[in-house]
């Protein structure tokens, strides 16, 4: 029962952060929300007893992909005037 409750909350977290990633106007915030969705998914995998998948999701989904998105955003937008 408690497992169901925890995983429901985590899944709600995934959905909310994914929606934020779609609807946020600022691309940097959107990229970070997408990373957060991955992080929630990784915790869900741990709760559902799949540590192997959780490791991949945490390292690649929420770590590397977010940074690659941020680099891409920096490359495709104008640098701020100093």
């Amino acid at each position: 029962m408690i497992l169901l409750l925890i995983s429901s909350v985590l899944c709600a977290g995934i959905i909310v952060s994914a929606l934020l990633a779609v609807f946020l106007g600022n691309t940097v915030s959107a990229a970070i929300s997408a990373g957060m969705a991955s992080l929630f998914a990784a915790i869900t995998y741990v709760v559902l007893a799949a540590p192997d998948v959780a490791m991949t999701e945490a390292a690649i989904g929420s770590g590397l992909t977010t940074v690659i998105f941020l680099y891409a955003i920096r490359r495709t937008t104008e640098p701020p005037e100093e």
Binding site: P51, D52, M55, A59, I60, L64, V67, Y71
Partner: protein
């Protein structure tokens, strides 16, 4: 208007498909025949405590080789697309140096992260994790280095050699399995050793070390390409 309606219709259809999958889902009460074989015979046949690794590296080893190849192709694609603008870099103002705090923290954290990454892929046959996870941890260490020190450069000769030789080594181990054991990527051409020890499960740790190094160097190369 028609475009919007098409998108909405597609989304509704997709939602309907997923909804049906969720509503009609009943958790399987029993393993299917193949999974039962993996669970019952995997540890004895291959000597690996982590069944996930046994499936990924040997039973479905060819698929893992394919995954590594896909990652290699995407890394090569990124390298090809972001190759230009090398000459223009020189005249730009150098980026601001990072603070003392960040520099010191990196020196402290980087060895720990690398040790964790190597631990994850060297113990892939015993504990959760493996080549992909360990390689991603290595790459996140490199990422930290690139973020903390804007002027940092990877040594391309070392990265290149490490990546090519680990990919080559992976295939060589696979062919050795074909020659001296049951088939391609069979781990039993080496002694299976004591169950649960670091040096056990035949060639499985060797394969995972190769995969870990390859994934780590590939992802680091992608990160460095993206950075400048």
């Amino acid at each position: 208007m028609i475009k919007r309606a098409t998108i909405l219709l597609t989304l509704l259809l997709l939602g309907f498909i997923f909804l049906r999958a969720v509503v009609e889902y009943t958790p399987p009460a029993d393993l299917n025949a193949l999974s039962r074989h993996y669970v019952a015979f995997g540890p004895h046949e291959l000597g690996a405590a982590n069944i996930v690794t046994a499936v990924l590296v040997t039973y479905r080893g060819l698929d893992t080789l394919g995954e590594v190849a896909v990652l290699f192709i995407s890394a090569a694609g990124v390298g090809l697309l972001l190759r230009r603008k090398v000459a223009k870099r020189e005249e730009k103002i150098p980026p601001r140096a990072s603070s003392e705090l960040v520099g010191t923290a990196i020196q402290f954290l980087l060895p720990l992260i690398f040790v964790l990454g190597v631990y994850i892929f060297a113990n892939g046959h015993l504990t959760p994790g493996g080549g992909f996870q360990g390689g991603a941890v290595l790459a996140s260490g490199i990422m930290l280095l690139l973020l903390a020190d804007p002027g940092a450069r990877l040594n391309h000769t070392i990265v290149h050699w490490l990546e090519s030789s680990s990919g080559f080594g992976y295939v060589v181990v696979g062919v050795l399995g074909l020659a001296f054991a049951g088939g391609f990527l069979d781990n039993r051409f080496l002694d299976l050793g004591t169950f649960g020890e670091l040096f056990s499960a035949g060639a499985m740790p060797i394969i995972y070390v190769f995969i870990g190094l390859k994934v780590g160097t590939e992802l680091s190369a992608v990160l460095e390409r993206m950075k400048d």
